[in-house]
Amino acid sequence: MAIDKRVASAAEALGGVADGAVVLLSGFGGAGFANVLVRALAEMPLRDLTLVVNSATHPLSQTHLLIERGMVRKVVCSAARGRGKELSVFEQLFKQGRIELECLPQGTLAEKIRAGGAGIPAFYTPVGFGTDLTKGRETRTYNGREHVLEEAITGDLALIRADRADRYGNLTFRFTQQNFGPSMATAAKLAVAEVRVAEDTPIAQPEVQLPGVYVDRFLVVD
């Protein structure tokens, strides 16, 4: 049967997601948030999610919906600070001890996800050595410099945003929209994309930025 990864609804896109899922959410600085899918996820009766996302508090992301509805047990991110003096939803829950946090250097976060998709269970990095974020971590000297051992991140679900898709799930991204999306798709058991446009014909080979074999389903939004 001819491959066709397009789905008709957000419900179909998110079918099979279960309590306790580790959910990888793309997006940085306003670009690449899969906000339609995140809103749809927030409508599902899910609990104990772990979110892996660069920022837990970016105002242009809908991540806060999942957090404020009490669906999230833990956040793994590089940024969890709300803007201004008011506490963000995340910060309020964190202050109350109602949500767990693992804060990572952004490049370590990105590399852990890339490793998860690439079959590398652990790697050494110089980043974070000697800081509070790597306390108690195993270290080793390479090239006269201390490094910390970091383990891969894998997920049950990745929700990513792209620009165009073809039936095979091949994706293109606009400008900085890609950020964490491509590696998150490789690291998740189920990778779902929301896109602006579904192409009727296959995307030409040199334009494909994420091979469709990494994408399980995509939804056209707007």
């Binding site: 940024a79 600070r81 990572l104 000697g130 800081t131 400008f175």
Partner: protein
């Protein structure tokens, strides 16, 4: 002495920008550092890297041409320079961690005389942590420059024997541009290369929390007048 006028934040950015060399790949942190791109000396062909994957970021976009999918590390809608390219976050940090950034200029809270840097956690009660790419940049750029006020608002020292705030990276800072001095961090600690024009050396030492040495060719620090927008 009371007439001495420290550099404003635009002048600090200007001063750091003068040291960016032709052909460099440069990452500019949020706040004052990102202003440096406006003050590059004429004729220097520089690529600005943004941690979210831009290699060759241009100035902030005009409101009518701003694109929500083209943002920099500070969520500003920006433009691209000629020859720019864009990679994903894993590849962007491979570039940073791999030592391909010639210079990163970062904002900072504290620097210790051994080059330790603290710029990500100022211990504001109840606010969540925000480390972003600071640790990657501080640990792995070939050269790490800091722009910061020489002292805290309360007059405390930011250049210290040891940092009091949580570290960003150990032994990483190469140069420091403050409102009253330009310093490097050497094997024996802070070395002053420029001191605010007219300022006494003792006065600078008094405002610094660790011993400072003066380079043999120490110069007066002077910057052209740049108004801070109201």
């Amino acid at each position: 002495m009371s007439n001495l006028k420290p550099l404003n934040r635009f002048q600090m950015a200007w001063r750091a920008a003068q040291d960016i060399q032709d052909g460099m790949l440069v990452n500019l942190g949020l706040g004052i550092p990102v202003l440096a791109s406006d003050y590059l000396p004429a004729g220097r062909d520089v690529f600005i890297q943004s941690e979210n994957g831009i290699i060759g970021a241009g100035p902030e976009a005009a409101a009518d041409s701003a694109d929500p999918d083209l943002v920099d590390a500070g969520s500003r809608r920006v433009t691209l320079r000629a020859g720019a390219s864009i990679v994903n976050s894993a590849d962007s940090f491979a570039m940073i961690r791999g030592g391909h950034i010639d210079v990163t200029i970062l904002g900072c809270f504290e620097v210790a005389e051994n080059g330790d840097m603290a710029n990500w956690d100022s211990r504001v009660p109840d606010k969540g942590p925000l480390v972003g790419g600071a640790m990657d940049l501080a640990a792995c750029a070939r050269s790490v420059w800091v722009i910061m006020e020489h002292n805290t608002r309360g007059g405390g020292a930011r250049l210290l024997r040891r940092c009091t705030l949580p570290l960003t990276a150990v032994s990483c800072v190469d140069r420091i541009y403050t409102d009253i001095a330009v310093l490097s961090v050497g094997a024996s600690g802070f070395v002053v290369h420029e001191i605010l024009d007219g300022m006494e050396r003792d006065a600078l030492q008094a405002r610094t929390g660790a011993p400072i040495a003066f380079a043999p060719d120490c110069q007066p620090l002077v910057a052209p007048p740049i108004e801070v927008p109201g």
